[in-house]
């Protein structure tokens, strides 16, 4: 645990120095720019749109970092051979994988925490000039704490994507890992549809394949509660907990898979 923690801190430091956090500048510019523009074009809907935009941008940036940093964090170590002196130290390959994953989660956590603060900041400034009687007519308050539920599930979502990226990069090239991870993510968005595939087509083989994909691939759709939160539809705590547990099971399976593969890999 301690050893994995040391690796995690190193991954975080590398992310900072590799300027991974530059995306935050883009996020801030996007959010502030959009709020100014939307504030002038819409009447009363601007807070809702900014919430929607802010949550979507948080998700997109999170997924982007999860895939592109996730696939490179192990492969870079192997390709550049920095793994050679590292594995001659008292650290197992499994601890290395665990540490890399924890470091990525830490990077994403800090990144998303800053994006969350920025989103609440913009919403605060937008709501400041709006009379209270107008604010009462909104579905949800500007500084709605329920936004945190959506952000928590976005974090769970990117945590699963990171585990997928790490799994593929434990044996594949960065390019292929990116393609595979993106593929799993996209198909996983439509996981619920795969379950109902027998209602759309009549080919037994296709139905069988769709069912198999449904059970194997993570259901990324269940982590997306952005619209519900923005429109004030309640998201029960039980749903969030169940989704987190579901994600945890996938993450555990993927990490064990990555550790098993990485532990048997020859570094030629």
């Amino acid at each position: 645990m301690r050893t994995a923690g040391i690796v995690a801190i190193a991954v975080f430091r590398e992310s900072v120095r590799d300027k991974v956090f530059y995306n935050l500048v883009l996020f801030a510019v996007l959010l502030v720019g959009a709020s100014i523009l939307i504030g002038q074009l819409t009447a009363g809907q601007d807070v809702k749109i900014i919430k929607d935009l802010g949550l979507s941008a948080t998700s997109v940036f999170g997924i982007f970092i999860a895939i592109f940093v996730g696939i490179s964090v192990v492969s870079k170590e192997v390709d550049r051979r920095s793994v050679y002196p590292l594995l001659a130290k008292p650290i197992s390959r499994s601890q290395l994988i665990a540490g890399k994953y924890a470091g990525l989660l830490l990077t994403l956590l800090v990144n998303m925490a800053v994006m969350t603060i920025a989103l609440y900041g913009v919403l605060y400034f937008l709501a400041r000039g709006v009379p209270e009687n107008v604010q009462h007519a909104w579905d949800t308050p500007a500084l709605d704490p329920a936004l945190l539920k959506a952000i928590a599930l976005i974090y769970v979502d990117v945590a699963v994507v990171t585990a997928v990226a790490l799994f593929f990069s434990s044996y594949s090239s960065p390019m292929l890992s990116a393609v595979f991870t993106l593929g799993v993510y996209v198909v996983g968005q439509f996981n619920a549809d795969l379950k109902r595939f027998d209602q759309i087509v009549n080919a037994p083989a296709a139905i069988y394949l769709a069912k198999a994909a449904y059970y194997v691939l993570p259901d990324f759709g269940r982590f997306d509660v952005k619209l519900a939160v923005v429109h004030g539809i309640p998201v029960p705590a039980g749903y969030i907990a169940a989704s987190a547990l579901y994600a945890l099971a996938y993450i555990a399976a993927l990490l064990f898979g990555a550790m098993a593969i990485f532990s048997r890999r020859d570094f030629k």
Binding site: E14, R17, R81, Y84, P85, L87, P90, D266, F267
Partner: protein
């Protein structure tokens, strides 16, 4: 005899080659060696002989197809053993974004050193390797030679009992090479076991108590240098000065070769049965002065060439 610090038994590694129908390529073939504690062991061989593969097998960076490897009596893959060893890979590469100090701090944490211990060890190790103010520069700004020094520093950070060095002189200038040679001898005097691979024979000759020669993945010879070298005299080298011209002419008929090495100074190559004492007596009688007379014995290079050639094309 004490238990070996390093032992390999029938260690073999095949790599698959080819995309569609991979065939095994034998990079190392049944290598069995023992390295005693306190030895400076030279692992010699031409390029592609299997030296780096052996080191990778010992570090468990690759896994053996068959056979075993042990370090300090434990299987090579044992994580606990890594607390007691140091390893310098060939052409080491580290994290660009870290400084030398930060890199060593990262590794020192993995060894579980306390903050005070880390500070002391890092300072001492960097000083020992002659890494001065550069220690606060990011490694991306380091030259190849400086990276090599950092590589050696990280291998010595935990004061290891056994040190594996893969081509330690690579990328170093003559001063750097001299420093590393002195460092290896210092480590030897401190009772450390050093296993270093090289194809630079002069380094091995100057440093090693024992060597192994590998060629085409096979062990071509192992033992103390003196045991490997055929101690029979291969000839004599006589160096003389002030030789009269007529005496020199007479000598040419009795020597294998006469070479002018300086003004009025000659190196005379005499066959093993060429009776150098007679030749020397005649030359001094004619007025020549003796500079030196030495037997010519087999060098490590001769042993190396002979052993590598003996492996022939049969292997692999």
């Amino acid at each position: 005899m004490s238990a070996p610090a390093i032992r390999t038994h029938e260690l073999t590694k095949d790599f698959p080659v080819g995309f569609w129908r991979p065939r095994p390529y034998r990079a190392l073939d049944r290598l069995s060696i023992d390295v005693a504690p306190g030895d400076v062991f030279g692992f010699l061989g031409p390029n592609g002989a299997g030296k780096t593969t052996t080191l990778k097998l010992l570090m468990q960076l690759v896994f053996p197809t068959s056979g075993t490897a042990e370090i300090l009596g434990r299987p090579a893959g044992d994580v606990s053993v890594r607390r007691r060893i140091g390893y310098l890979p060939e052409n080491p590469y580290f994290y660009d974004h870290l400084t030398a100090e930060e890199l060593l701090d990262y590794y020192a944490r993995l060894f579980g050193m306390s903050a005070a211990e880390r500070r002391t060890r890092i300072l001492a190790t960097l000083d020992r390797l002659g890494i001065g103010a550069e220690r606060r520069l990011q490694l991306r700004k380091f030259s190849k030679g400086m990276l090599q020094r950092v590589g050696i520093a990280q291998a010595l950070l935990n004061d290891p009992e056994v040190i594996f060095l893969d081509e330690p002189m690579s990328g170093l200038d003559p001063l750097g090479r001299r420093d590393v040679r002195a460092l290896i001898l210092e480590l030897r005097d401190a009772g450390r076991t050093i296993f270093f691979s090289s194809h630079i024979l002069s380094d091995a000759e100057a440093l090693c108590s024992r060597v192994a020669i590998v060629a085409k993945g096979r062990l071509a010879g192992t033992g103390r240098l003196a045991d490997l070298q055929e101690f029979a005299v291969l000839g004599w080298e006589l160096v003389v000065g002030n030789v009269p011209a007529d005496a020199l002419e007479r000598v040419k008929g009795r020597a294998r070769r006469v070479v002018t090495i300086a003004a009025d100074r000659y190196a005379i190559d005499i066959a093993p049965d060429g009776h150098p004492e007679d030749l020397l007596r005649d030359l001094t009688a004619a007025g020549a002065t003796l500079v030196s007379l030495n037997p010519v014995r087999e060098t490590l290079e001769d042993v190396f060439v002979r052993r590598v050639a003996a492996v022939g094309d049969g292997a692999r």
